[in-house]
């Protein structure tokens, strides 16, 4: 397919359809409404089903049901709506079902604003719902990358039988950029676990989709099995981009939209003679600990930049293991930090460290 201009939200929806997603359940909320709008039209064309549910809680439980049959299914929302979905996400993680959840983050807490934010980082990377679980979380920084990561998300969800999140923000959702839809072929996955209708003599055992393990020893065994899965995901699926890091004396760490604004600021600081690079976590869970740890041993300081009061910075500090100081610059409430502000924060770090 040729390059075409697409809004991030529409591109995510089309990428999902091309990845074989045939079931979408959602409830409207700004700034992600183009996703359900697009799906309501598009899924009909490919023989899928779109349901505008009566609530976010209903939508995630519809995903739970559809995913239980092994079908590729998805929901999307924005921050307050994602909070409502947390119980369902925990159940899906516990029942080990594959699905994709898109969060086009807006300012919080509460109803907050409809402007871009990254203040759901803790919720996204620490599970969000109850119980010992993790969830791969992809943070695209462009519309093209949103497409590629959405398709990867479906594969990773199937490979590990886990919910996977796309963590965008209002800019990723609303911005238009040229997109080339990749040629996508779904790998083959074992779906013998799926509940697709059991009959006497059908040659397999009943598929039971469940997250209730009433005996503690049985649940512990289950949770330990999940832990091995999360260790495998950390080992195999961590993604990070490093730019201008080869000779860097300072590093900016940022993800998503903030990373590309920071990249412009990094280039400007390089023009001033500051040897600064950018580390961009593409997966925020699993977090690219190794890249941060290695860089922390080489640089004089790191600067975490986020559209929040500072959430990812905790992961940066944990990974940096005190090998270098970590400073912070952020805006919140739906304010997007500008190139000038980040550029000034880079110079302030250089002056101090």
């Amino acid at each position: 397919m040729n390059r075409q201009m697409m809004k991030g939200n529409e591109a995510i929806a089309e990428a999902a359809v091309q990845a074989g997603c045939r079931f979408f359940f959602g409830y409207p909320i700004t700034p992600q409404n183009e996703i359900p709008e697009y799906m309501s039209r598009r899924l009909v064309e490919v023989g899928g089903q779109f349901v505008q549910a009566e609530s976010e809680v209903a939508a995630i439980n519809m995903v739970y049901g559809a995913a239980g049959t092994g079908a590729r299914s998805m929901t999307s929302s924005s921050s307050p709506g994602i909070s409502l979905k947390q119980e369902g996400i925990s159940y899906i993680a516990g029942a080990e079902l594959p699905c994709v959840i898109v969060n086009i983050v807006r300012g919080g807490p509460g109803l907050g604003s409809i402007q871009p934010a990254q203040s759901d980082y803790y919720q996204a990377t620490r599970g969000g719902g109850h119980g010992d679980y993790r969830m791969p979380v992809y943070a695209p920084a462009s519309v093209q990358e949103a497409v590629e990561l959405t398709q990867r998300a479906f594969d990773v969800a199937d490979k590990y039988r886990t919910p996977v999140m796309i963590l965008g923000d209002g800019i990723i959702g609303q911005m238009m950029e040229p997109v080339t839809m990749p040629e996508y072929t779904a790998p083959a996955f074992d779906r013998s676990w799926a509940a697709t209708g059991w009959k006497e003599g059908c040659g397999r055992e009943r598929a039971v989709i469940n997250s209730l393990y009433i005996q503690p020893d049985v649940l512990e065994k289950h949770v330990n099995k999940l832990a091995r899965k999360y260790a495998a995901i950390s080992e195999n699926e961590t993604m990070v981009e490093e730019l201008y890091m080869d000779d860097a004396e300072y590093a900016v760490v940022a993800y998503g939209t903030t990373a590309r604004i920071a990249l412009t600021a990094v280039r400007r600081a390089r023009e001033d003679g500051v040897k600064v690079g950018l580390i961009r976590p593409v997966t925020v869970w699993p977090f690219p600990e190794k890249a941060i740890e290695d860089a922390a041993g080489r640089v004089k300081g790191m600067l975490a930049v986020e559209m929040s009061l500072g959430q990812m910075i905790d992961d940066v500090r944990l990974a940096a293991r005190d090998r270098c100081p970590v400073r912070f610059y952020g805006r919140t409430g739906g304010i997007v930090p500008g190139v000038r502000e980040i550029h000034a924060a880079i110079h302030a770090m250089k002056e101090e460290l």
Binding site: M5, I171, R260, G338, V339, R340
Partner: protein, 179 residues
Amino acid sequence: MNLQMIFAGFGGQGVLLMGQLIAYAGMLSGKEVSWMPAYGPEMRGGSANCSVVVSDEPVGSPKVEDADVVVAMNKPSMAAFEKSVVPGGLLIYNSSLIDDKPKRADIRAVPVPVSEISSELGSPKVANMVMLGAVAKLTGAFSAEELVDALRHKLGSAKEGMMQMNREAIDRGMAVAEG
């Protein structure tokens, strides 16, 4: 090329479409582009603006702060974005609706009477295309053909009947910009 632009005006003046067409034209000529609307609880008659970047390199920040070009379609937009123009940059404003003169002396300010021109053409709806013609001429970034191609790409073949009128509007905008 690394052209950073802001388009601003009332909702309904075709401000977002102007930005999209510049982005489309950039994409069709092989550039890296981004289009970012200021979104919010906007409505017809409210304010609208968008950032557009057309570049030879992958686009960094899609949100333009320091604009090479600001296009102001109404008074509040000029008041809000005149300060965003880089020294030596370009402020193109709709002199049909803006009777104030820009304050800054370190930028190039060009008035374009888009309403008068589009009325002469017989369609007030093409006022934004007049402005787009002026933008293309003053930046030297695009030809009239490229803008019409972008419009075709955006609207599809069903709207082919409208292309002639839009082409005329773009040409008139270019002519006015030439002075």
